[in-house]
Subunit: 184 residues, 2 copies
Amino acid sequence: MVAMDGATAREQALDAAEMLFYGRGVQSVGMDEVRAASGVSLKRLYQLFPAKELLVDAYLERRDLRWRGRLAEFVARREEPRERILAVFDWLAQWFAEPDFRGCAWVNAYGELGATSERVAERVRAHKRAFREYLGALVADAGLPGALTGPLFLLAEGAMVTAGIDGAAAPAAEAREAARLLLG
Amino acid sequence: MVAMDGATAREQALDAAEMLFYGRGVQSVGMDEVRAASGVSLKRLYQLFPAKELLVDAYLERRDLRWRGRLAEFVARREEPRERILAVFDWLAQWFAEPDFRGCAWVNAYGELGATSERVAERVRAHKRAFREYLGALVADAGLPGALTGPLFLLAEGAMVTAGIDGAAAPAAEAREAARLLLG
DNA sequence: CAACGTAGAGAACGGGCGTTCTCCCCGTCA
DNA sequence: TGACGGGGAGAACGCCCGTTCTCTACGTTG
């Protein structure tokens, strides 16, 4: 294995961890498998992430930044404030249709580890809080009542969890249509 | 330990499994802990459920019957068809407020085992399918368009997952209000 | 009373996995 | 050139856990 600086090793470790953890669940993937998939030795892995829990935490954190970044980028392409809200559901539809879509990474992680890892539980809550706040900002920008944020958030959450379980993209369209009705 | 007939042992095993699996997650509870909490010996446990996966499956199946039974019983107390639909969200609010509420057992189980156990994944899908069909029947009885079923289902799912993660009952009220608006 | 079978308690087995340790290679610098 | 230090490969260590096995006690039946 060629030399690799710390930042590169960290990214490769997180790339492998994300693919494996998201695809098969955290508990069914061992650290040795992360090593094999990333090319980062166990020694280095443990220097970068002193325990598996911290690798999981870092995976969720990096994915959160990317997930919200992509969503915001997609939404920002629309001009009209109401269209922006609906664009959230268009983006979900696109995400659900990706071949390796397996539901919401944070909901899955919460189901697996929420009861045993306070660190992971808090990371999940922070992600959901940030997503809700983002929706709230879109609602405010459209001059709509703040009370709409909750329902829109619940529709999006329901769509994510349902799409994840059924492996279908249809819930995004259902949620979008319901959102359109709620926007009046 | 006094003698115990098969049916009783089965119920006690499932009682213990349900409390432990739902409260702490399936993977963090060992079979020996189920034995200790139920008073059913390991030998008997494995006669009744030849593998842990089958115990998990039976736990989800029994809980599904009870969960839907209680919901239907609560809803049936209302006369007016539209009120019945809203009663679903009242029932959720009540459920969320229970002290040991920890989110949707099926969503949690799917997050933990959906990727590794096809049996559990299918059990979860069956439960969600049954819940959606139940909502569909309520919508039909109210003479409302079937297209409302999806959004109502997504609101309920979103409320369950959000209440589970945040440990708050508020999502039920938000979902109820959104449902009221959708019913027109 | 004696032989038998069932069931419980808990040890044992096998495998997996998080984490650490050992050993060796190789690049660096005096 | 030779000592040194960081890093990789992978063995080793402990522990946990699903599953099976052994041993013992006791109730039943002839």
